[in-house]
Amino acid sequence: MNRKENFIAGFVKENPVFGLYLGLCSALAISTTLDNAIGMGLCVTLILTASNMIISAIRKITPDEIRIPVYIVVIASLVSAVEMLMAAFMPQLYANLGVFISLIVVNCIILGRAEAFASKNGILDSALDGIGMGLGYTFSLLLISFVREFLATASWTITNPFNNQVILHVGLSFLEPFKISMFSTSTGAFLTFACFAALFAVLKNKPAKKEKKEAK
């Protein structure tokens, strides 16, 4: 399998969120705004890449019997470290994401990639896999939050997590009266996610399908 293909697989075909239903807890909970989605996505990408590299580096000395425990320890320390760094340098984002940062430890994507890929491949490949999968996850979060933030607030806002300056604000004020605040609640999260999951199911089986059913 060549590297480029591998890298791209994370976006559609092996998209961890919509395709494999991994890492859903955080994907649904923090996808209320683009800010949170970007922050969480990059956080996961960073941890995933680093954990993939470390695990790949120690794959030869890791006793096979206790692979999983070793991965858990490595991931937990990485997450703790990132958590502390975020609290120090991006306090606002840290406060918004809250407990979900620590819960990256049990994010199935990270352990899953360590197990399925990093334990068998070299450092560079593992790093690329981590970035690819991480960006695939980020991309999924962005899709969900793009829809949810707009439906719930009739606008999109992106802020700089380091100093809380608003970088971009797109608001369609004439739609203001029609916003559906339900989309910032859990019902909206499930609903948006269901639509995307259906859409990805269609994309995945495209060749096999005659009748195209666009998800709304």
Partner: protein, 62 residues
């Protein structure tokens, strides 16, 4: 800097305990009548779960 030493010793104990338990657990044979449980698990895509097909070879490697 005692702090770091405490932390290291504490993690040493916890990590050792986990490894020992993990290994012992996987050596404990599955009781009668439960051998086929894994096949029954229609499961999900969590590949790190011990029931996932990709996990079946770990312990036999002794």
């Amino acid at each position: 800097m005692n702090n770091a030493i405490y932390a290291a010793v504490f993690a040493l104990i916890m990590g050792g305990l986990y490894a020992a338990l993990y290994y012992l657990n996987h050596r404990t044979p599955v009781p009668k009548g439960c051998e086929n449980l894994k096949e029954e698990c229609s499961g999900c895509s969590i590949s790190s779960c011990a029931n996932h097909p990709s996990q079946s070879k770990i312990i036999e490697g002794e």
